[in-house]
Symmetry: C2
Subunit: 302 residues, 2 copies
């Protein structure tokens, strides 16, 4: 199971109900953040998410609402006695900006911060999954991220039975080597297993529409799209480098996304009086499985 939690779903300025952008993803024991707006560490605490164990942070772009929680989070990691290095990924200048903010004030730090700047379609392999960056179109250099799990090989017990293989060392060998020899037959891993496509999560960060976005979102299990505005402000959204409800939904529909999550909601829409529902409603008219992200909303990707 991949656990995904929206920690902040506002844009620019936080509101009473919405914190600045951040998304927590846990894959097995691997904890990561996508963006880290002010207040992220407190949201992590409220959800008891062991912030000190976060190993990597992916920044989409260097507007303050997307990075202003980094100083506080890193300081708290230090106070918790972290020793393991922290990886920060981001677009061009991430190295320079990181060096700048960690040298503000008196900052004891006994762990390393390792920065990797990601260009268009850069891929980092983390073993069971890869993270791919893709350039988006915002007012400043900005990237989105694809979390792509590799193919999952699940042993099929029915098929095993056909070959008279009981559980145990033989199966271990089969997994390790990809084949075994039994009763003068060569049995290959694919003969007794089902290959499932890995899960895919796509996060746009802040972007206006551009055609390649469809390619990146294709067949995502979870497509998290900038939906700062509703359709009434689609022209304004484009000028400011943002998507709006129906654009997100049209992409989701066109490329067979499983679920669309709408986030980076302008404070023009209020959660308290439910005016933010208009964004979800507009999206659902086009793509049924559209959901408005809310702070602390948990999504389990199976």
């Amino acid at each position: 199971m991949i656990k995904l939690i929206f920690l902040g779903t506002s844009s620019g300025i936080p509101t009473k109900k919405r914190n600045l952008p951040s998304i927590f993803v846990m894959y097995k024991k691997d904890r990561m953040l996508f963006d880290c707006g002010e207040g992220t560490q407190r949201q992590l605490m409220i959800k008891k998410l062991k912030f000190v164990k976060i190993s990597k942070i992916f920044i989409t772009h260097w507007h303050a609402d997307h990075f202003s929680g980094l100083i506080g989070l890193i300081q708290s990691m230090e106070l918790e006695g972290r020793k393991e290095p922290l990886y920060i990924f981001g677009p061009v200048h991430t190295k320079k900006f990181t060096e700048q903010f960690i040298s503000v004030g008196y900052f004891a730090r006994r762990f390393d911060i390792l920065v990797k700047e990601m260009k268009n379609e850069d891929v980092v392999d983390f073993g069971n999954y890869i993270i791919q960056s893709f350039e988006v179109k915002h007012r400043i250099p900005a990237i989105g991220y694809i979390f792509q799990e590799k193919k999952r090989i699940n042993i099929d017990t029915k098929k095993l039975a056909k070959y008279n293989i009981n559980k145990g060392p033989l199966i271990g060998k089969l997994k390790r080597n990809g084949f075994i020899e039994k009763d003068n037959t060569l049995i290959k891993l694919e003969d007794v297993s089902i290959a499932k496509n890995g899960r895919k999560i796509v996060y746009t960060g802040d972007t206006k529409y551009f055609p390649e976005l469809e390619k990146y979102a294709e067949k995502a299990d979870i497509f998290i799209c900038d939906a700062t505005f509703d359709d009434e402000y689609s022209k304004k959204a484009y000028i400011y480098g943002h998507c709006c409800a129906s654009i997100a939904a049209k992409i989701a529909k066109a490329v067979n996304v499983k679920k669309l999550y709408l986030t980076h909601i302008s404070r023009r829409y209020s959660e308290e009086n439910k005016t933010d529902k208009i964004i979800q409603n507009q999206a659902r008219q086009i793509f049924k499985k559209s959901y408005l992200a809310r702070d602390l909303l948990e999504v389990n990707v199976r």
Copy 2:
């Protein structure tokens, strides 16, 4: 009336109930902050305090918990279209650190940030009140602040009646010039008024005990003191550059403070299960008017 609101009362790491340090003070229309930990802008919003109108921010020292809310607050001021300059006061290196953090990321800013570094016992005169800094003893350069209202001259209507002065232009002249001439008598402002001492608020920021602290806290209406720990940890507190419950209370008692507010509470103490009450209880055994600060607590200084 001076309105004082605790926006954050934690130390180092925020908790579910306590945000990082910041205190809002409003004197007439003059809004100011003392420290600005991460999450301050959201606390201001929750209290509907018109954050864009804050004119000055006083930083006690450059540990992240005391300044990590600056980037986000300043960014939001810009998004709100602020034009007026913002003044940031702080100890040595405040200029360098401010320049560093405002150059992280892409930061459109159409208002000026004016920095003044405060040395020991520096005074800035704001007309009706002064702010005085004083060096405290922490692990890094750190200062506390005294908000000192100037003497208040209140016209006494009983005394006015004695001189047969009715309300009106004569009183205006009296206030302007300090005296008037009536029925061949020179009447001075002090003859018909009561001079009241101005109100005094003292905020230590982070500090261990040092004797001069008593001088600075003397006769404060509100003395806001570092009380990171309870007395059991007084030695630890001293080593880490902090005060504890009874030290704060002893100072308050020794120099006739009116009310003591204990803040910068370690997350070792929980508001949820009320273990933080121990700090207030220990202080009250020495000084009755001791109060544990809580997030969003409002204090009206009359």
